[in-house]
């Protein structure tokens, strides 16, 4: 389960979902080898975007300390900026070893992965 689903269940306004969140124990995967896979909330600027400068400024703001903490507080997402510390609720979930494979490698390998899925019949 993604971290933000867990956080939203734990602090959401649905009573039964709170119970479910209470009854589970967090386990980070692959801790003895490549580490826990992490999704990203990514952004980019379209090639023909009209307000290129403003778009870049916004993306830069999103990677700064203030916005990175907001991601953690509001939606329980870990900071992507390595100089920003994990704090608050996220910190209480403990430290873990993340998978450091660059995210663009995933995109490059996706067609090959899909071919394996096709062959195995997942």
């Amino acid at each position: 389960m993604n971290s933000y689903y867990y956080g939203n269940m734990k602090f959401g306004d649905k009573a039964d979902q709170k119970d479910w969140a209470q009854s589970i124990r967090l386990v980070f995967t692959n801790q003895s080898n490549r580490g826990n896979h992490m999704n990203i909330s990514g952004g980019g600027v379209a090639k023909y975007a009209k307000n290129k400068m403003a778009a870049i400024a916004f993306l830069e703001f999103l990677t700064e300390e203030k916005a990175q903490h907001l991601y953690g507080e509001i939606n329980f997402e870990y900071p992507v900026n390595p100089s920003v510390l994990v704090n608050g609720e996220l910190a209480s979930w403990g430290r873990f070893k993340p998978d450091t494979l660059p995210i663009e490698r995933l995109a490059a390998l996706a067609p090959k992965a899909q071919m394996i899925i096709d062959r195995v019949g997942w």
């Binding site: 996706a110 067609p111 096709d118």
Partner: protein, 547 residues
């Protein structure tokens, strides 16, 4: 190349092509362009992916599609024909009400019933939770419950909302079957249903079945949600999962084969249908009066499809909406409602103007070849949205390149980055709906209306404006309503081709349902269902004409 084509066209018709006909030919080119683009790009190089797909998934795609079509077909015929027979032949309390209510499931797009059924039947849903509570079961190991997100579930879900197509045509066919034939069966003590009703309604049932199967073929929302790998979903996966447009186009060719077969089935069935409706009722046939148990059976036959196709899914949605804060929900989606209404209204207007132009010109001005071209250009409806989206994208890309070459590089990508590409997709797909509405309006006109006006000294344009257009107004409006609703609930093309930060009710519902948060999207889903009631009312008015 276009010029030589046009001059060849002119020669073949042995008459000069006038500018009206050229307009129609160009428009049909615009509509058929994306379909041709898929065909052409399939000849490109997919980097060896085709042989991989052929070795691994293609067989599964085809067999899943076939099983789904056959399963939905059988269940939809079961629902549609049995209820049509009961309504046509038995006189029982509530018959009049059930007659139109049986059309209600047609208001619900298959993906929405799939979402609400999953909400209802899944492990955490109210049904299984209730059963667990009732019998004290603790976990899924304590009991067996059918998985709704399966091939069988998809068959049930789709058949429940698609059977009205079959019900409607079969009901009309039973009504038009001469009473004398049923009386002969009575005299000889043979079954009225098996030996008279069913054989004579067969062409109508086949035509309805072809429509149902086309809908199954083009469905994207349900199979994606249930993870059933059909051809349509395969196209989507190969395109977006493997970034390979050429291979997606190649799978689309397989889809083409299916669609051509279904179009053929429909045409064949329709050509046979004439035979059924040729003889009209002289003396009305006495209805059968069922016993008390019979009344119950009649009700069961009609209520079961209604329950599955309308009351359970709508009940689930209403239940979800009722637990939410309605005003907050409404405010959250007001921008999306605005988007949806504007896009659907503009698309409906544009499509109807184009359809009116094409149909009127083809009927009163152009030669038989242009008429055939116009008919041919209205087959876009049969193609799955995922296939058309590919075609529209390739076609628009080429168009953009031509525009940039003509007008300068500042126009690079002007169409493909705008909402224009989505509108083109709507036109290609739903032009057929407008065409159908307009052509049926033209066919109802007395044959010599145009000639009379011309003989009385009015020019072509004046005749169209003062005689033909006023007479076609109701067809125009009916067609506009149908296109409006079709655009409103359209999912795959909107999902693939919309601009950034642009949602319609359908894509909004899709996104939340995908994350299993249907409660957030229950209100937009319910709104789509409500809008779908409009064509149901039109269908019901049509049934009444055959009473």
């Amino acid at each position: 190349m276009v010029a030589t084509f046009l001059s060849n066209f002119a020669r073949a018709q042995r008459q000069p092509v006038d500018r009206w006909s050229i307009g129609v030919i160009l428009l049909c080119g615009l509509i058929l362009g994306p379909v041709l683009a898929v065909l052409l790009s399939a000849f490109g190089d997919s980097g060896g992916l085709w042989s991989h797909l052929y070795d691994t998934v293609l067989g599964r795609y085809i067999s899943n599609t076939l099983i789904l079509m056959a399963g939905v077909g059988v269940v939809a015929i079961g629902f549609g024909v049995s209820s049509a027979w009961v309504i046509s032949r038995y006189d029982f309390a509530g018959r009049r009400m059930l007659e139109w209510m049986l059309l209600l499931p047609a208001a619900i797009p298959a993906y929405i019933i799939a979402y609400s059924y999953t909400e209802f039947f899944e492990y955490a849903g109210p049904l299984q939770s209730g059963l667990r509570h009732l019998f004290g079961w603790q976990s899924p190991r304590n009991y067996w419950f059918p998985e709704i997100r399966s091939l069988g579930g998809a068959i049930l879900v789709m058949a429940s909302v698609l059977y009205p197509y079959i019900y409607m045509v079969t009901r009309i066919a039973f009504r038009l079957t001469p009473a004398s034939l049923f009386e002969i069966a009575l005299v000889h003590n043979r079954s009225q249903f098996w030996q008279v009703g069913l054989p004579l309604a067969r062409p109508a049932i086949m035509a309805g079945l072809a429509l149902v199967m086309m809908e199954v073929m083009s469905d994207f929302g349900t199979v994606e949600f249930f993870a059933i790998e059909t051809i349509t979903l395969g196209i989507f996966n190969v395109w977006l999962g493997m970034n390979n447009l050429v291979a997606a186009a190649q799978i689309s060719i397989v889809g083409f084969g299916f669609i051509l077969a279904l179009l053929g089935l429909e045409l064949y069935a329709r050509s046979r249908q004439q035979y059924v409706s040729s003889s009209r009722n002289q003396t009305p046939l006495a209805m059968l009066v069922p016993t008390k148990a019979g009344v119950l059976a009649c009700w069961a036959v009609c209520v079961i499809p209604l329950l599955f196709g309308f009351f359970i899914p709508v009940g689930v949605l209403v239940g979800l909406v009722a637990t939410n804060d309605l005003l907050a929900d409404f405010l959250a989606i007001r921008g999306i409602i605005g988007n949806t209404l504007i896009v659907a209204a503009i698309a409906a207007l544009v499509i109807m103007v184009l359809s009116a132009f094409i149909v009127v010109t083809a009927s009163f001005r152009a030669g038989s070849k242009t008429r055939k071209l116009a008919l041919f250009a209205s087959t876009g409806y049969a193609f799955p949205g995922t296939i058309l989206a590919i075609g529209v994208l390739i076609f628009t890309g080429q168009l953009d390149r031509a525009i940039a070459a003509l007008f300068g590089p500042q126009f690079q990508g002007i169409l493909i980055t705008s909402i224009g590409v989505l509108f083109l997709a709507y036109i290609v797909r739903f032009q057929a709906v407008g065409y159908g509405a307009m052509i049926s309006g033209v066919r109802r006109l007395p044959a010599n209306m145009m000639n009379a006006s011309r003989v009385l000294g009015q020019g072509y344009m004046d005749s169209i404006r003062r005689v033909i257009m006023p007479l076609l107004k109701s067809s125009f409006l009916a067609g506009m309503m149908l296109v409006f609703v079709d655009v409103m609930k359209e999912l795959p093309m909107t999902l693939l081709l919309r601009p950034f930060n642009f949602d319609t009710l359908a894509t909004y519902t899709y996104q939340f349902a995908k994350d299993e948060m249907l409660e957030v999207a229950a209100l937009p889903a319910l709104m789509i269902v409500l809008s779908g009631l409009v064509p149901v009312m039109l269908m019901s008015a049509m049934l009444r004409r055959y009473r």
